[in-house]
């Protein structure tokens, strides 16, 4: 930066500055790009997740028996109950004669919808609550913290149970149950990060300049508090999948016959020793999908955290 002096910034200096800017940017996008360049884990996770997403998008084309996939029982079902994997049915058939491969492939959509809905909603709520609590302090802070602790301590399955009674089975039940518990985690993490940001001098300067509270929150607080939370959210896509599958497995979420991995597993659990393929294949998909997102999330986290650890500060 010795190149910026009065009127003569040099070009090569400018180019180097752009590079340096990218290396030091703390935004979510910049973190992602860096992780991609640096970490093989990221690349693996990215590939896995992209493949899964593509399967979900192309489900109607990939599934050899699309109607089976959606849960309908085929006409010749009675002859096809619990067939072991073969050329016609790569993953075999389930207890009612439906092709498991098709069901699993359609299950990708269900899984992705659930996890993205849950994580994005919880994230929005959590971020909002977290920064409001940290910025306005006082009573709001105490109230929000209390709510966070309250909802953090209730397991999603219990809430799912209650919602099942009120709302019946369905997507809304499982998604809502998870959102109600997950937002509090984001709320807590956002609150903790925002707390230190709110004490920063640039927030003080903004206040002194008369900038409105909401603008300060948007421009200064959220932008700095959100990257680590967003990174966490990516890993959570995997965790939410596991929990959602569990809720559906217990029959507290989506109804039987739905193209949903947890549901399929539930149907096959009694026949685990006789026809393991019914539960095993959806189980594998759950694990692989969760793994894909976790790998991405992990490598992103490595970018954020050891930035403070590894990035030596030679000149500060």
């Amino acid at each position: 930066m010795a190149n910026i002096r009065n009127n003569k910034p040099s070009i090569s200096g400018a180019v180097k500055n752009v590079q340096k800017a990218f290396q030091t940017k703390t935004g979510f996008v910049a973190i992602t790009v860096r992780a991609w360049k640096r970490s093989s884990r990221f690349k693996i996770g990215f590939v896995i997740s992209s493949l899964i997403i593509m399967v979900g998008v192309l489900a109607p084309l990939l599934a050899p028996y699309p109607r089976d996939g959606l849960g309908y029982v085929p006409e010749d079902a009675l002859q096809k109950i619990r067939l072991s994997p073969s050329r016609d049915h790569i993953f075999g058939t389930d207890t009612r004669g439906r092709d498991i491969f098709s069901r699993v492939v359609f299950g990708v959509r269900s899984a992705l919808i659930q996890i993205f809905l849950v994580v994005s909603s919880s994230l929005l709520i959590g971020l909002f609550m977290g920064v409001i609590a940290a910025y306005y302090k006082g009573f709001i802070e105490t109230l929000i913290n209390y709510l966070i602790e309250l909802f953090m301590s209730i397991p999603a399955i219990v809430i799912a149970l209650a919602l099942r009674l009120i709302l019946g089975s369905g997507l809304l039940t499982v998604v809502l149950a998870l959102i109600i518990t997950w937002w509090s985690w984001y709320g807590r993490v956002t609150y903790i990060y925002s707390r230190s940001i709110v004490e920063m001098d640039y927030v003080l300067l903004a206040k002194l300049s008369g900038v409105s509270g909401l603008k300060i929150i948007y421009r200064h607080v959220i932008r700095n508090a959100s990257p680590p939370v967003l990174v966490q959210a990516v890993t959570d896509l995997g965790s939410v999948l596991l929990e959602a599958s569990a809720i559906n497995f217990l029959g507290l979420g989506l109804p039987p016959d739905s193209p949903e991995w947890g549901v399929i597993m539930q149907e096959g659990i009694q026949y685990l020793s006789i026809s393991p393929w019914i539960s095993v294949f959806p189980g594998i998909f759950i694990l692989v999908t969760a793994l894909g997102f976790s790998l991405i999330g992990d490598s992103l986290r490595e970018e954020v955290d050891p930035k403070l650890r590894r990035r030596w500060r030679l000149w500060f």
Binding site: M1, R5, N6, N17, A21, T24, L208, R219, H220, N224
Partner: protein, 266 residues
């Protein structure tokens, strides 16, 4: 129209501090913890005043109350003639905007996610200036701190400590305040940059005819940034007077201690 005797900042018998929550059952009642006692201070238009104190002396707390963010337990704070804590928050902000504040640590005073352009525009957002006028003001401010316009496109992390400090000074003067308030303006800087900044501050002050209030612990720097010094110790003002005189012939014991410690360590 500026009068030579216009008092920009006046602290009248200020006792000031923070609230703490004691342990146990008493936590229902917050306790007043004063750190500054019975302080009286005036800053006249065009003056350069330095408040000298060591860490824990209460000097930063004084600055906070002048900025309008810490109401005193007792006494009144006048800025440009108005008692700011007797005003509603909005009015108070309007008045304290006349103070250009330069915080201590340049690394904590700039949001790493915003461009310098936003940093410079922020103080002018609430004013009723046209875009063109805003641009002019920003360029003028940058010129005064000897930074090129190109810096507007940069992010804080790309700048060195000295540049960051200059950006902060530019930001403080862009809305044409009556007084500059600086918290340890040189402590986070390298030696050679310190000199640059000190000279720059004096230059700007002369050019814009501002009053300047600096808070520091560094006696040597105080020489250059103040015509008048105020020595604060444990929340009380122990000595006050013309810089040259106080720092060469101190009357209070504490001032003597400060000076002798300084002398002995160089």
């Amino acid at each position: 129209m500026r009068l030579a005797d216009l008092i920009i900042v006046k602290l009248e018998n200020i006792t000031l501090g923070y609230y703490t929550t004691p342990r146990g059952w008493r936590s229902l009642f917050k306790v007043k913890q004063p750190v500054v006692f019975n302080v009286n201070l005036n800053v006249v238009d065009g003056e350069k005043v330095v408040i000298i104190g060591e860490s824990g002396s209460g000097k930063t707390t004084l600055l906070k109350t002048i900025l309008g963010i810490l109401p005193p337990f007792e006494g009144r704070v006048y800025v440009l003639g108005k008692s700011i804590y007797d005003l509603p928050a909005k009015e108070r902000r309007k008045i304290t905007r006349q103070i250009g504040y330069v915080p201590q640590d340049p690394y904590k005073s700039l949001n790493p996610r915003v461009k310098i352009e936003t940093v410079m525009k922020e103080p002018l957002e609430k004013s009723n200036l046209t875009d063109r006028e805003i641009k002019e003001r920003i360029n003028e401010a940058l010129r005064l701190v000897q930074l090129h316009e190109k810096i507007l496109d940069y992010y804080p992390m790309q700048l060195s400590g000295g540049m960051m400090q200059r950006v902060l000074i530019a930001r403080a003067i862009v809305h044409e305040p009556e007084i500059l308030a600086l918290d340890e303006p040189t402590s986070a800087l390298d030696v050679s940059i310190q000199a640059q900044v000190i000279n720059l501050l004096n230059q700007i002050r002369r050019k814009l005819e501002l009053a300047m209030l600096t808070v520091t612990h560094d006696l040597a720097v105080a020489q250059y940034l103040g015509d008048r010094v105020v020595i604060i110790h444990k929340g009380r003002i122990v000595e006050e007077g013309e810089t040259a005189i106080v720092l060469s012939q101190p009357s209070h014991e504490y001032t003597r201690l400060l000076i002798s410690s300084y002398r002995a360590s160089i």
